[in-house]
Symmetry: C3
Subunit: 331 residues, 3 copies
């Protein structure tokens, strides 16, 4: 029997008993061999509330770093998914988000159908997840009792850092990275940086701009302050946008097309799929203009807006000359 994913977690239940949040300290993707056998031996497929004692043998044997979870005085949840189907529950949604942030799955490789339907909008507070219909009373009681109760966000997605801080990253403001973001080793996210769920900075990266849902940022690429990468949810339409290696998107710049490797967009310039771009090779020969979407995914491009003529130009290097001719043929 195949095993897509397995995890034991600590759920947060609303007063009415609904699961509104779930923390999985040690999620597993595609476990194999003895580990997979142990899972199937001790847990049933699907989702079940279990007493901590029912997880003790498995965790002590296979995930001793998660042992503190066994001290809980309330039930845990065990989720065992045979395959990567559409999301069927809140716990399942949280499990898939954990897989991404634990670097067990890359963006756009998981079936996230149904995620919005199965994540409730919740108040994330200094007392944890609170169902919205309990919020006003909780706020009032906290005020009366003289202790402070802070509402940090009201969202379907919590912040990643409260669930997992992957190794080798820096995060200036954790409220800007949702659970489900994938931050590779060596990723630094500055105060202007933001990474959505199902989006990645593969690392090392300096992220001072917006990495939208669906976007993957390649090794060594930097996203300048407030720079924008359109995602599938944010205007990029059907094309999933990725940025290759060693790219630089300047401050206040943006792209609506995928970029290959070693591409640069100068500070302040926004390239959309429909931007008409003049191509200039290393010898100064001009071709085009072409629509930027025709350059999607190409490497070694430098995009600027000429400061005397206002023309958007793409400087291409030798390797790209063949490309130019090909593009010219398209024209």
């Amino acid at each position: 029997m195949p095993t897509f994913a397995f995890a034991i977690g600590l759920p947060t239940l609303s007063r009415s008993g609904t699961c509104i949040d779930c923390f999985f300290p040690a999620p597993l993707k595609a476990p194999e061999g003895a580990l997979e056998a142990a899972i199937h031996d001790q847990f049933a497929p699907g989702e079940a509330m279990i007493e901590p004692d029912a997880a003790r043998a498995f965790i002590n044997a296979h995930q001793p770093h998660a042992a503190p979870m066994l001290e809980a005085d309330r039930p845990l949840v065990a989720v065992l998914l045979a395959k990567d189907g559409p999301i069927g529950s809140t716990a399942e949604a949280f499990l898939k988000l954990h897989l991404l942030s634990h670097r067990l799955a890359l963006p756009n490789t998981l079936n996230l159908d149904g995620i919005f339907a199965h994540l409730q909008t919740v108040a994330w507070t200094t007392e944890g997840a609170v169902a919205l219909d309990e919020l006003a009373t909780r706020q009032m009681r906290a005020r009366v009792q003289g202790h402070h109760f802070e509402v940090l966000s009201v969202d379907k997605f919590p912040k990643m850092a409260n669930y997992i801080v992957p190794s080798g990253v820096r995060i200036a403001d954790s409220s800007r990275i949702r659970l489900g973001a994938y931050l590779g080793e060596g990723t630094t996210v500055m105060p202007y940086g933001a990474i959505n769920f199902n989006a990645a900075a593969l690392g090392p990266n300096m992220v001072e701009g917006r990495v939208s849902q669906g976007v993957v940022l390649g090794h060594g690429s930097d996203i300048g302050g407030s720079a924008s990468i359109m995602g599938t949810l944010a205007g990029g339409g059907e094309i999933v946008i990725s940025i290759g290696r060693q790219c630089l998107i300047g401050a206040n710049a943006g792209t609506g097309i995928p970029l290959g490797d070693r591409c640069t967009i100068e500070a302040g310039l926004y390239i959309t799929a429909g931007t008409r771009v003049a191509l200039i090779d290393e010898d100064g020969n001009r071709t085009g203009p072409v629509k930027a979407r025709e350059l999607a995914g190409r490497s070694d491009l430098l995009f600027i807006r000429h400061s005397e003529t206002g023309e958007v130009q793409c400087r291409v290097n030798r390797k790209a000359i063949a490309l130019n001719e090909q593009l010219h043929a398209h024209n």
Copy 2:
């Protein structure tokens, strides 16, 4: 006797007894009939500190959802305003900000004169509002005692979500929405979104940019990441800027003029009042250029910067042709 507004609240007093913050769980605007009669029967005009018992009958009868407030072991404040005059106290300032965030008043409809004078700059912390002259000692004592004390902001305005989370909204980072913001049903504010006091997203809206003081954003309009809407405080001068319905201000774009309905500003383009704009109708006929301020409030406009010539253009649709002629006449 007219009644503009009434509310019973929980004030935060500094050590020296000054009101630095006030929480009104159930503010009322223009109450009528039996409700208004009960208010005038039980409370005096103006502002008064009252024991919780003095509010018990009224709250139990008319605002039972606010009953937890009666458990306070310290005085409440009752504010009864006959008319919408200039702000005369901190509690009054907080009451008006609550009216906006409770969706009881739209931006630019309340008299906010004096609001800056009557709101102290306060440290908003994980222990609530703290007067600045007490802060350093509080921070030191917390460190000594080994508990953490977080200063979240130092501002005249607190974050809205600690007072009221209106129905049907999502807020990625509550620190970016001040009390006094009006968030209509269906408003989502992403990490880059920010809404000032006396500003509105009427909902449904996707807000990933800045909604400045005084700005009202109409139904169905989206503000892209880091997009900027100049407000009366932020460079827009005397004109209050509003955005109509079904508009799209692209990522990293901005406007210094009000927009009508169904207008689009392409990503990365900033339109100020003085921007000279060429007008192009559906048949490709050019008129203008006109200064963007002459287009203020018009509908069905698409603003772009031509990527080959650097010219800022406004594409207008059929309905707008008559408009063009009118504008041309102005020129």
Copy 3:
């Protein structure tokens, strides 16, 4: 014997005994006379852990406002630096960052060599600084015990406001200002504002954009929403960028060159060192274009991108005419 700096602080130690954070409520720079003598009388040069009692006489006599620190039931750290050498320890790094935020030193005047090596990446949480190798267990235990534990950032630098809130400032979101930022009297930082360590807003300033490491913003200058000032770490290369007095960098604009006094960059325009700029004087005479780096540090300049031609222009006033001729000569 010279004394560069002295301070007594409360360190945070990781479980393994490493100093990961240090709070100095009353740092001193270049103390003189009796104060300096008292320091050398009672403390040894270098860095030492001391019992609170060993600091009692000094603090009671010279820094009574720091007396609450003496109530600590654990050792304090005393740091006495004879000169401004390279940073040699975590406590020393924190001391220098405090000097900047306490307005005792301006950016670019301290020797910060070694600061990255001596600041560990730490989880800054609602329970204070936590070493990363302890974090996962702490998070799990907090969940099990049903109390909330919030990871606010994961960074080498903590937020300034948890150490010092200088007089006369407003800070909309404290997570965007690192310890080591210098905020002068009258500085307001809005939600889009961010100020790095070793960067200053001398005040009064309205900061809604990014003030990068190394940048100094002069009196009366405003930085619009999401505006960008390149720093030595963020693309500005070797030139340290400063902004003079009474400048305005518009919303979504940016600069990669230093500006003199009374300069304006219009909203949405990004000037980099290599931008070719046409110069236009008050009589409409054109010179240039020149590269923007030739205008570095000049006063009374207005930068725009012409909305009909896309040309980047710099309007200079009468005082600047001589300048223009000089620039023209360079060309």
